[in-house]
């Protein structure tokens, strides 16, 4: 065996003829575009929570300048979060084969000798620890979180948010240093130039090829396509059956008006039937004009409106539009003295646990005529799992801000 005496530091150990600047360049440019999109949609997702509105919305209060870009999350277009978060998660999953292939293609560089040729070279290698470690950390925490496998050391939100900035810091430096070479290489490949010009660093002792570079890139693309095809359907009710392996893919939890996807069931959230029953449940609404307490019947007596809106989860899945029917949030605000200028609202749920059992909505969300305290969905009473007796539904808001089993609304104090 000719490998028996070789260390990974010996270039002769690495024998795939595929490895080289060209293969790496193509994958690198795909990741450049893909990771920037995933990073930006991730930042948007944080903004969508309106973390600067109220402490209950912010899982990373120590963010400092990393929240420099935050803005009031709009309610238009109403599918905005469904789109941005669907792209964030689905594209992230689709990029996994590209990431793995890219790391494979450069793995011999890890063992390169001498370890440090100059200060710049040493710093670059140090930065690769953050690039590779940070990148794998981000992909791993994301992939585990959507499968509800909370193995990671801490809460998902700070880990994934701060981890993203550490990764991106290394990523932008790496991109700035490598993109010129990658672009030059790909331009040459497209021009069909055979000459390497000294830039193609292939292994010195390659095995005979078993697959062409084009074939290998096709294989990586096939892996991405397979992951995409078995994932993307989880964002559409009609196509959910095609998401064969993704969470919230496959079958719907039920049939009929309340048969669509559930994020957290009533049992999981610790909701007891006795607390939501007609004789015990009351909705407490507070504002500058005082407090009113509404029973099921009294709430049913208020003017009812409809809105067709999706549920879109931070985990990347979403439902198609459901027809919600209930009382406008701005009408409830008017009931307690906020007529014409609805303020922010703090929403409290009956939930005994869960990170978002309290959540704040901004004035622009309260004012939108499609923002409802929903009592019905698709023509039927809400089921316990969808928030009976009343839940919030707000256009373009992340799923967790659409609080279920609402018990209290406090206007003007988010």
């Amino acid at each position: 065996m000719r490998d028996s005496l070789r260390l990974p530091t010996s270039p002769g150990l690495w024998r795939s003829p595929l490895r080289g600047t060209r293969f790496t360049s193509v994958l690198g440019l795909v990741l450049l575009v893909g990771i920037v999109v995933v990073f930006v949609t991730g930042l948007l997702s944080y903004a969508a929570y309106n973390p600067d509105l109220a402490p209950v919305n912010d899982k990373t209060p120590g963010k400092g300048l990393l929240g420099f870009y935050l803005f009031s999350w709009p309610t238009d277009p109403y599918w905005l979060y469904r789109l941005t978060q669907g792209v964030h998660v689905t594209l992230g999953i689709t990029l996994i084969p590209v990431l793995l292939a890219k790391l494979w293609s450069v793995v011999p560089k890890l063992f390169e000798l001498p370890p440090v040729r100059s200060v710049a070279h040493g710093l670059e290698r140090l930065s690769l620890v953050l690039l590779v470690g940070g990148g794998l950390f981000e992909f791993t925490t994301g992939v585990l979180n959507v499968q509800l496998d909370y193995l990671f050391p801490g809460s998902f939100y700070p880990l994934h948010f701060y981890g993203a900035w550490v990764f991106f810091a290394a990523f932008f430096a790496h991109a700035a240093l490598k993109v010129p070479t990658a672009l030059r290489t790909v331009r040459r490949m497209r021009a069909g130039e055979q000459a390497d010009g000294g830039e193609e660093s292939t292994p010195p002792d390659p095995d005979p090829p078993t697959v062409s570079r084009r074939g290998a890139l096709g294989f990586v693309a096939g892996g991405s396509l397979l992951l995409f095809a078995t994932t993307a359907g989880r964002s559409f009710d009609g196509l959910r059956g095609t998401a064969l392996l993704a969470p919230h893919g496959g079958a719907e939890p039920g049939s009929g008006p309340n048969g669509f996807q559930i994020n957290k069931t009533a049992a999981y959230a610790g909701i007891r039937t006795a607390d939501t029953a007609a004789d015990s449940w009351r909705l407490t609404v507070t504002g500058r004009g005082g407090t009113v307490r509404l029973s099921h019947a009294e709430l049913d007596g208020l003017a009812r409106h409809s809105a067709d809106l999706p549920i879109a989860c931070v985990e990347g899945w979403s439902t198609s539009d459901q027809r919600w029917r209930g009382v406008r949030l701005r009408d409830l605000a008017a009931l307690v003295g906020h007529d014409g200028d609805p303020p922010d609202v703090l929403v409290e749920s009956l939930q005994t646990h869960g990170a978002f059992r309290h959540a704040a909505l901004r004035a622009n969300q309260v004012a939108d005529p499609r923002s409802l305290l929903a009592l019905y969905v698709n023509g039927a009473r809400l089921s316990p799992d969808h928030g009976y007796p009343a839940r919030i539904i707000v256009p373009a808001a992340p799923g967790v801000l659409n609080t279920k089993w609402v018990a209290r609304l406090t206007f003007g104090r988010p």
Partner: protein, 174 residues
């Protein structure tokens, strides 16, 4: 050098300071150095926040992810691939190894990404949170694996048939 000379020519004095050999490292591109220090500073700004909770756990996860990938996952699949190539080569089937290699890699990729759901390790939480039992993921993965290898076998059979037909056509009829 006496004190008077030193004052007259401080640069010469500077040259006299002995720099240990290890520290005599060329700087490399200044642009690269500036860019990387900028990157480290930003990473540190986010990093102190990332490490604010379980700093040891997070460090182990980040370093562990890189090490596990580079020192375990890559060697493992490279060795498996080399073994497969050697086994195919021993039977003179090296050119057709892709028909096994590709479906195997795709199937393992799906297993790697969706392992928690396929293995059922989050069964209880998934079932109680979503109201749907995650029982379907393992059978789905098995069926996709069957389809991948089945499709590959079909393609191979097709290509073998085509090859035979062309060789027959080339041969003159008796």
């Amino acid at each position: 050098m006496d004190r008077r000379n030193l004052l007259r020519d401080p640069r010469a004095a500077l040259h006299r300071i002995r720099v240990p050999r290890v520290l005599r490292l060329p700087l490399g591109s200044p642009l690269q150095v500036a860019l990387l220090i900028c990157s480290f500073a930003l990473a540190a700004y986010a990093g102190v926040r990332l490490l604010d909770g379980d700093w040891l756990g997070v460090t182990v996860w980040i370093a562990g992810a890189a090490l596990l990938h580079d020192l375990v996952l890559v060697p493992l699949y490279s060795a498996a691939d080399r073994a497969l190539l050697a086994a195919a080569g021993a039977m003179g089937q090296r050119a057709r190894v892709g028909y096994v290699r590709v479906p195997a890699a795709l199937s393992l990729l799906l297993l790697l990404v969706w392992f928690p759901l396929i293995s059922g390790m989050t069964d209880t939480r998934y079932r109680s949170a979503t109201g749907v039992p995650p029982d379907a993921f393992l059978p789905h993965w098995l069926l996709i694996t069957a389809a991948l290898f089945g499709g590959s076998a079909l393609l191979l059979a097709g290509s073998v048939l085509r090859e035979r037909r062309t060789t027959k056509r080339r041969r003159p009829s008796p």
